[in-house]
Symmetry: C3
C-alpha cells in the first residue's frame, strides 16, 4: 500500500488539511486507498526553514517509495514552481521554495508539475495543496510515473544561510521543548561546544545534569543539540535559529564540568 | 473501504478523540475497519459556526458515501437532537445545533438518532461523541441503513445570521492565517469589494501586492477572501466574523490600484 | 489488522511523531501495515499525570489486543526503564515513569525492553520514542511475543498522590474545556460534592444550570466532574490538579439547588 505523508502550516482548526485528504481519497476511487499519514500540521505559518528540517529528519524513517507532501507555501499562486523530486529513495511533492533544501542535497531528479494528470482541471490561485500537490501525490500513488509530471528542472529554493564551515554549525531548528538543534555533526564537535558565550561539555542525556541546567549532547539527528533539563534552552540563552554553535575544548580553568 | 472523518473541538491534549477512534475500531471488530480521518480537532471550543464552515468546505472533496462526524456540541445531553443526514451524496453525523447549516442547504434527508443499534447501551450525558456519534458512524460503515436510525426530522440548527442579500456578503470564517473568508460568490463580486472602509480590487494571489498590503481575491471556496500578504487581515482591519463584504466598483479617483 | 495508538508530548510542529510513524511503516515492510492511530500529541511537555489519565480513559475503548505507545518521557536516556505491559487485555509500551499508573492497576504482566528485536541497533540517548517504543510496538504488531522483550519486572512508576480515601477524591485531570475531572466514583458521591468551598448538587448535564454557572455531574469516565456551563471551572475556582473533591449532602439552609 502506498504511503503519503502530509506536512503543512495549515494547523488543525481549518478545513485545509481535510480538503487535501478528501482529494486523495476521491482520486483513489475504488483502488486501495494510499495510507495518508499526518507528519506535522503546526509548522509556524510560512516558516520554510522549520518545515525543511522537520521533513528531512522525519521522512528518512519512512520506507523507500513513500511519498511526502509539504505545503508551507507563502508564495502560492506566484512565481515559485511546484515540483516533485526523488531524493534518498523517496518522493517529495511541494513548492520549490526551500522546503526541500535539506532532503535535496542528494536529489537525483526533480520535475516541474505541469501535466494535467498531476493537477486539478481548475487550479485555484491560493490552494495548491488541494489542487496540485495532493493530486500529484495521489497520481504517483496510483501508478503514474513522476518523470511525466513535467520538464526536469533544477531546484531553486534555498534557505537563508550559506554553506557551513568545518567545526562550525548553527542552530537550524528550535523544537517544541525549546531545544536548540544545530547542524554541527557529532564527528566535528569537540569534547565541548560553545554557544552564546557558554562552553558546554558534550554529555549523554538530560539526567547527566541537574534540573534547570544547560547541557549539550548529540541529538537524535546525529548533530549537536543544546537543552535545559526540565526547561527551555531558547529562553535561557535568548537565542534563535541561526545562532552559531562551535566545536570547543574543555577549559580546565573553568571546570569542573560534570 | 468506508471512510469516516472526525471534526471536533476536543483538541489534541485530551483523550476524547482517542475514545471515539477506539469505539469505531472496536465496533468494526473482525470486519475491515473503516479508514478514520482526522479533519480538524482544534475548532475553537463550542464554536458552531467555525465548525460549519470547516466541514462544508472540506468534506465536499471526499468521495460519495463517505461519513462525516462533527462534534462541536456545547448543548450535549440537553435538548438539541442528535442527527444523521444525507447531503451532497455524503453522510453527516452530529448534533443538530447549526454545525450542518452550510452542508444541509441541499440536504435530502435527516433522521434523529434514537435506534439503539446506532448508540451505546448506556449513553453518558456529556460525551455523545463517544456514546452516540462515533457509534452511528461505525454502524453506517458496517452496513446499517441510516434511514433506520430514527424518525425523519427537519433540521432545527441555524447559524446566527439571516439570508444573504444580492451582491452583499459577510465574513463567515477567519482562518489560521488571519484571512477573512466571505460568502460573497465570485459571480456577484464586482471588479472590487468594500470591507471596513476599504475598497480593494480583486487580484489573483498574494504576490500581486507588496508584502504587508491588503488584498482581495477569489479564494479556494469560490468566494471572496481578504488577506494581508505575509500578515493577518483580521488584525489589520480589526474585523471578525459577521463583517460586511460588498461588491464594489473601482474608484478612479482613488487609484491607481495595483 | 493490528492497531497501534500514539500518545506523546511531541506536539504537531516537529518531526518526532512523524519519525515514529516512519519506523512503524518501515518495519512493517511488505506485511500489512498496522493501523497507526493518533491519540493525543499535545500532552503538556513532560506532564506524566496528564498522559496517564488520557491513556487510561481513551485506550479502554479500543479492542483487545490493541497496542498503545505512550511517550511522555522527560527522563529519556536516564535511569527509568522502558517497558511493555499487558493490562485490561491490551498492550502498553513506554517509559516506566508513571504514565501507566492508572492502566496498570490491573496489569497482569510487565517486561523490560531489552531484547534487540524490540529496539533499534543504535539507540539514541534522547529519542526512545523512535528507537525503542515505536520499534517495540511494531515488533508486537508483526507477531513477536512481548514476553520475550526482556525480563519480567514490577512497575516502578508512580503518580505524586497516594491512595484515595473513601468518599474522598481529588482532581486528577483538567481538560481542554477547563473541566475539573476527579477520581471520585459515582457510587461514592453523595447527592452533592464539595470543592473549593462550594457545595454543588450532582446534576445531569450542562443545560441543567444557567450559562456561566458551576455544576457537578458524573462525567464520561464514571467519576465526578466540575464544570462551568459555557465557561471554565479551573479559572472560576482557581483550582488545579490535586484539589480535593468530597462527597457531600445537600445543605437545606443553602438551597434551593436547581
Amino acid at each position: 500500500m502506498a504511503i503519503i505523508t502530509l506536512t503543512t502550516d495549515f494547523g488543525t482548526s481549518d478545513g485545509y488539511v481535510g480538503a487535501m485528504k478528501g482529494v486523495i481519497a476521491r482520486i483513489a476511487g475504488t483502488r486501495p486507498a494510499p495510507a495518508v499519514v499526518d507528519l506535522a500540521h503546526d509548522i509556524p505559518p510560512g516558516d520554510i526553514a522549520h518545515a525543511a528540517w522537520v521533513v528531512a529528519t522525519s521522512t528518512i524513517e519512512f520506507p523507500h517509495g513513500s511519498i511526502h507532501v509539504v505545503v508551507v507555501d507563502p508564495g502560492v499562486g506566484g512565481t515559485r514552481r511546484g515540483v516533485v523530486l526523488r531524493a534518498r529513495g523517496r518522493w517529495y511533492v511541494g513548492p520549490d521554495n526551500g522546503v526541500f533544501a535539506y532532503v535535496a542535497e542528494r536529489a537525483s531528479e526533480a520535475y516541474a508539475i505541469e501535466n494535467e494528470r498531476f493537477r486539478a482541471e481548475h487550479v485555484s490561485r491560493t490552494f495548491h495543496g488541494r489542487d496540485v500537490f495532493a493530486r500529484t501525490a495521489a497520481a504517483i500513488a496510483s501508478g503514474e510515473d513522476p518523470a511525466t509530471a513535467g520538464p526536469r528542472v533544477e531546484l531553486a529554493g534555498r534557505l537563508p544561510w550559506g554553506p557551513r564551515e568545518l567545526r562550525t554549525g548553527r542552530v537550524v531548528h528550535v523544537d517544541r521543548f525549546g531545544n536548540l538543534i544545530s547542524d554541527l555533526p557529532e564527528a566535528e564537535a569537540g569534547p565541548a561546544i560553545a554557544i552564546g558565550g557558554e562552553v558546554l561539555p558534550l554529555v549523554g542525556t538530560y539526567e547527566d545534569v541537574a534540573p534547570g541546567e544547560l547541557l549539550a549532547y548529540v541529538g537524535s539527528a546525529g548533530t549537536v543539540e543544546i537543552a535545559v533539563r526540565d526547561g527551555r534552552a531558547d529562553r535561557r540563552l535568548l537565542l534563535a535559529r541561526g545562532a552559531a554553535v562551535l566545536a570547543a575544548e574543555l577549559d580546565p580553568a573553568r571546570g569542573p564540568y560534570r
